[in-house]
């Protein structure tokens, strides 16, 4: 008998089928990966399995856990299942824990709720579980509060709560998406080990095909609420049938062809021994705020026409460095020069040569302005802005370059999708023909297929406009495909730099090696 048998599972919300006749089976101890882009219904499937769907959702079909039907059970029966037989780990570790209760308390609660321990030994059992997930009480005391832990540690606590009762089925919904690459690798390792030790059947939900390739015994690809293809990884990756799967795989592994570098390039951006510390937020009116050194003695050169990547995990200092280059924050020591002139305290004339594309396609724009006005914003940096007609023409032309239409300039930003908004962001960055564009996690919030298109666009524009850019990302695979040279940043310093292909194939510094080894890879067949 299989652990989980799902038959014709459908979920309807307000007339729309968010899940449409889902069928799959899972055996004990096996890992099934549910993968797909946003809106495919993967998270809905997870919620349906836990019967934690939103109130307005109507669920039909059959979910059998070890032969017993789950759909239609009353809340009490479901409560005894949840946590004990079926557990779930969610995506956002930062908000998954109750901030006002200790971690020990929250783990113990899982045990006590299901009567698996009495008050006396609940503490010990909780300590044991936390030890299993890599949080030994000697290092992380049970009376710590969530805000005292890092993202990776919090996720371990959530996992501890989930496995404390040795459930038969564990559902992990994007458990590592919000974490750094190295932390991600460790958490996935942990999940794999626990599944093996306890013979837990696991459903791993992720949009990242590379993660899936490594871990899953079986992969199901979802699109618009349906499973379009399901097979074991060896078979799937070698001989995928469905066009959507093919498109997804192609997009994930998409390589961009960059134009050649110009001969004998001149230095464009020079960063010399830049240091910056900043004050942490004031705790109160009376205390002096503490300082943190974010960037220590960073130096690098970006040449004309060059595409330079900057990788690093959260807290490495890349955001501070970026803000310094953009002039949003001052620096303590060192110099930043553009074309030989210093950028510190520079006026609009110099600033016009650097533009930026940010990560968040939803927050990047003033929701009250029309697209034309949004794109024209950089014009105020020019001492002699072009005439209205010229501006209008420029807007139309740049919109076309990014693959949108001239009429789009009359619309509001909320009428566009995420990928389209990033195109508009790029249009805004290019309109005054800057010399340098900074892409700050510009594709990180996009779906895989959209991401591939935007990367292609960037490569095209690099050719058309003779762009030089600094591409900042935590996603190693993206950086690998879109840059010529790359910098690796860790703890405020550049630990390694070099030709991108060289760096990725042969990292020399210990941290770069760790980083690159941790990044999940798509199988090459």
């Amino acid at each position: 008998m299989s652990l989980l048998a799902v038959k014709d599972l459908s979920v309807k919300i307000g007339g729309n089928f968010v899940l449409d006749k889902i069928n799959f089976e899972l055996k004990h101890g096996e890992i099934l990966a549910l993968t797909g882009e946003s809106g495919s219904g993967k998270s809905m499937t997870a919620l349906a399995l836990m019967q934690l769907l939103p109130q307005r959702a109507a669920c039909s079909g059959s979910i059998r856990l070890e032969g017993k039907e789950i759909v239609g059970l009353d809340d009490r029966a479901l409560c005894s299942l949840r946590g004990a037989q079926v557990s779930m780990v969610f995506q956002e570790p930062m908000t998954a824990l109750n901030p006002v209760k200790t971690i020990g308390n929250q783990v113990m609660e899982a045990l006590l709720e299901h009567g698996m321990a009495r008050k006396g030994d609940a503490y010990h059992k909780a300590a044991q579980v936390l030890e299993r997930v890599g949080l030994p009480p000697s290092k992380v005391p049970l009376n710590s509060y969530p805000h005292q832990l890092s993202g990776g540690q919090r996720q371990r606590v959530v996992i501890a709560m989930a496995i404390a009762l040795r459930p038969k089925l564990l559902i992990a919904d994007e458990p590592t998406t919000a974490l750094d690459v190295t932390t991600q690798a460790k958490i996935l390792e942990l999940l794999k080990r626990l599944a093996k030790e306890d013979q837990i059947g696991m459903i791993l939900i992720t949009h990242d095909l590379a993660v899936v390739a490594d871990m899953a015994d079986d992969i199901a690809v979802m699109q618009s609420g349906r499973i379009v293809e399901q097979a074991r990884p060896e078979i799937l990756f070698r001989a995928m049938q469905h066009p959507y799967t093919k498109a997804l795989f192609a997009a994930s592994g998409h390589q961009v062809s960059l134009p050649d570098l110009p001969p004998d390039p001149q230095p464009l951006l020079e960063v010399k021994q830049v240091t910056r510390s900043y004050r942490l937020a004031r705790r109160s009116f009376w205390e002096k705020p503490k300082e943190k050194v974010a960037v220590r003695g960073v130096s690098f050169v970006l040449r004309q026409g060059e595409r330079l990547g900057l990788v690093g995990e959260s807290g490495c200092g890349k955001s501070t460095l970026t803000r310094a280059i953009l002039g949003l924050d001052p620096i303590d020591t060192g110099e930043i020069r553009l074309n030989g002139s210093s950028l510190q305290g520079a006026g609009a004339e110099l600033r016009r040569d650097i533009q930026v594309v940010f990560q968040d396609p939803y927050g990047s724009f003033n929701p009250r302005h029309k697209v034309a006005q949004l794109i024209k914003e950089p014009y105020h940096l020019l001492s002699i802005p072009p005439s209205r007609k010229e501006q209008e023409d420029a807007v139309v032309s740049v919109l076309k370059s990014v693959g949108l239409r001239a009429e789009d300039r009359f619309k509001y930003i909320h009428e566009f999708s995420g990928g389209q908004r990033q195109r508009i962001a790029i249009a805004r960055a290019l309109i005054i023909r800057p010399k340098l564009v900074i892409f700050d996690e510009a594709v990180s919030a996009l779906d895989v297929s959209v991401r591939a298109q935007i990367l292609d666009l960037i490569a095209e524009l690099a050719e058309e406009y003779g762009l030089s850019y600094l591409f900042i990302s935590h996603d190693l695979f993206v950086v690998r495909s879109i840059t010529d040279r790359c910098l690796v940043m860790h703890n405020g310093q550049i630990v390694e730099h070099g030709d991108t292909k060289e760096l990725f194939d042969n990292p020399k510094h210990k941290y770069s090696q760790e980083l690159i080894a941790a990044a999940p890879r798509l199988p090459v067949f």
Partner: protein
Amino acid sequence: MLRYTLKRALSLALSLCLASVIIFAVVEVAPGDPASFMLGINAQPDTVAALRTELGLDQGKFARYVAWVSGMFSGDFGLSYTYRSPVSDMIADRLWISLPLALYALLISTAIAFPTGLYAASRRGKTGDAAVMGVTQLGVAIPNFWFAMILVVIFAIKLRWFSAGGFAGWDKGVFQGLKSLTLPAIALALPQAAILSRVMRSALIETLSEDYIRTARAKGLGKRATLWRHALRNAMIPVLTIIGLQFSFLMAGAIIIEQVFFLPGLGRLVFQAITQRDLIVVESVVMLLVFAVILVNFLVDLAYAAVDPRLRERS
């Protein structure tokens, strides 16, 4: 936690200082000299001057301020200009009415609001919630002194359960005293209860949509357990803020309500003192009211730290 308390206490002291300066300044700037007022329009300038000296009004503003403030530390608020009796005694008498009234009203308000807000949040979107929202919407719009009048008509005049006004006095027993304060307390409490239950409801709804609630349910906690153990504590934070604010509204509202019920409380004292230009009394009463509010806010801040551990630490 100790550091936090000390910091808050320092803040409290600073606020009190500033408040005292402001109150003193406002009252001093007001037109009308107490001495001339007391003696009437036809008084001789010499008599007026003599009275001013006697009252200490001829001293510089700064000296008077210092005297007033230093007196406060020892509980001495000076002598009333009109009655020449210690202000502290006058205040103390009235305080025994105003303070219990405010506390009584706070009690009724919270006792009604908490279960109502909880009920509405748990029945969100259904008829129960809509009913509560409707009633509270109305409650918020009602002026408490008007409501007081209606209560008097129904419960005092028609039904004769309570007296229409006046205060029986505590020496006749606590129960009698509370009886005189019941209608006023209800009149004060009801509009505030409406506000508080809405806050409670929205705080709970917001808390219930947080991720950690979903985690709790995924652990197998039932709806009730989740509500009591996880949602409630976190929802308390905004609720505590409102309770703190409510106290200041209750103090203010009490002043007006005292007029309706002819209660000899601080409100009546302050009105009389204003008409009589008895500045010392005015300053002292206002200072006391402000002190009460600042103190309550201080206690609320401490309560925050008790509820939310993130506030207790420095790092």
